[in-house]
Amino acid sequence: MAILIGKDTRVVVQGITGSAGGFHAKQCAAYGTQIVAGVTPGRGGETFEAVGPDGQLLKIPVFDTVEEAVEKTRADTSLIFVPPPGAADAIVEAADAGCSLIVCITEGIPVLDMVRTRRWLEGRSGVRLVGPNCPGVITPGACKIGIMPGHIHRPGRIGVVSKSGTLTYEAVGQLTAAGVGQSTCVGIGGDPIAGLDFIDVLELFNNDPDTDGVVLIGEIGGAAEIKAAEWIRGHMKKPVAAFIAGAAAPPGKRMGHAGAIINGGKGTAREKIEALEAAGVKVSRSPADMASTLLSLLK
């Protein structure tokens, strides 16, 4: 079933009655994702209507708490659209209720809220967090938990892991145009403190019999790509192609993502490209060549 999510994944959407949450819950349901519940405190007892992939009307129950949603619907995964002031709390609520996968789309969560949340998640081995500030996770043809356009994907055997949103779509679009499908695409988000990192996802792809190779998309700032390179050198059995965004970015300027900033000469694209290449990763210099770089490794 590729990694993280598949046909059997049962999703509760936190913030389903908001405009973004509602819109994307419908999109996910239309893709075929099992949206089994919604949560908005104070709105318990309402019904959220969506249309499934075959045009069938879905009546999704809304609950006041995630705990109740999990109890009544056996949801195992949460998709979070709660606004920044309450988003970190929503992550903890989902984990506390027993969700094993939490995908947080929310952008703009205070960094120190994420420091506390990550600390709280430490030692809870049954819980995985993806994001925040990410497009989500998709296993094409089976399950979409996030805000990515489903129609650009196609089922296949290439894994994609990325800090970016639209740049991931670009990579997926290139793969699909080249006739190459994807096993699972994971957007880990561009925030300095987040859930799954490159290594966590690479490890899952490495052990996944349905994945043959991986496209990794990083960007300037931090050292996650360097650490990933070290891990790849020692463990990765499958070919990896990469692209690092921000080679043209000047130091000291934050490029949209809170994490995308070159500080004190650290976290440059060049430094990351060198580390990845030293680990045997093929790095495309142009974002137009992400798919073709991977394809060159498969032949």
């Binding site: 973004a20 819109f23 994307h24 920044p84 002031p85 703009g108 969560i109 205070p110 960094v111 120190l112 420091v115 506390r116 990550r118 600390r119 497009p135 805000i147 990515m148 356009p149 129609h151 650009i152 800090k163 970016s164 949103g165 639209t166 740049l167 991931t168 779509y169 670009e170 679009g173 561009g190 300095p192 403190i193 998309i217 960007e219 300037i220 931090g222 050292a223 650490k227 692209f243 965004a245 921000g246 080679a247 043209a248 970015a249 000047p250 300027k253 934050r254 490029m255 949209g256 993502h257 809170a258 994490g259 995308a260 004190g264 000469g265 694209a269 210099r285 142009s286 974002p287 137009a288």
Partner: protein, 396 residues
Amino acid sequence: MKIHEYQGKQLFARYGIPIPKGYPAFSKEEARISAAKLIEETGIPVVVVKAQIHAGGRGKGGGVKLAKGGPDEAADLAEKMLGMQLVTHQTGPKGQKVRRLYIEQGLDIDKEFYLALVVDREARRVAMMGSREGGMDIEEVAARSPDKIHTLTMDPFLGLTGFQARKLAYALEMHRHGKAAFAQFVRLCHSLYDLFVKEDCSLLEINPLIVTKKGDVVALDAKINFDENSEFRHASDWADLRDVDEEDPVEFEAKKAGLSYVSLDGNIGCLVNGAGLAMATMDIIKAYGGEPANFLDVGGGANQEQVTKAFSIILKSPKVKGIFVNIFGGIMKCDVIATGVVAATRELGLTVPLVVRLEGTNVELGKKILAESGLAIQPADTMADGARKIVEATRG
């Protein structure tokens, strides 16, 4: 978000962190009055005139001067400093105009230290760093002798613990400066951590932290950055602290419109959705021999007004000789973007070459809107195609 040294010190004072006596001054006369007041209050004839800009390295750039000759000398120094373009290694070659000063009492320094708090993204913790190599460029120290920087990481559920603070104090050899200094330093560490967390800082730096000849620990500098994501918790406080004169006016205008914009030195304007794709667009323009004029992320759900605003912001730079719109529609539908591009082009009477690449949701509809607009918009099929076209169109 950055604030001035004197604002940082006012915050320090609220948390019981010892600072020298000082007063902000906005004119020569205010500087004279402040200096006279300081000399009277402290009995120390020396005052320091410090330029207040949001950049480090002020001392080397001539933005920190000692006045030993009383209030008149302080006033003369203030007159020279106000309005000057202060150039430091952090301001860029044009420098930053000095509009505010801080007049501070002089102190006899026995030893300078470095002390800072940051969010350490690898450790996923707040970290405190200290060094006996104070008063210097800490990045240089880190590169030359990293063993001279001592780092603690704090468990957010415990905060800074007593033993950790003592450990840092011993590592910095505070005990050599007397029991009082050691105790003062430990107290200061706790107060700083408290401030960092309660005020939602992303960086807090004191360089230098000093021990005076009398054996007192004092923060001689204060550099504080706030985490902008936390603004909702501090809205009124931060509104008072924000100095828009220190921000790039165009970047500030963009931020108010919900756009993420950074101006660069090239001549090709970029309008992109998503930070990663926006960076990649700059990269590919460069790869084709062009130079991007900006980074601009219109975000995930931009509407027609925001697209028009984005165009007008890009065109504020007289350097812009062409614009490349690169949109991969997900949430954002290509037809909405196309309608926005057509409206903006008409409304602003766009004269520079415009290349538009659309992909994703409703792409056919979007392309049709552009084609039927009758405007001189060059469509591109891929981002490589678009980058090549805009570089060619702006060449020569």
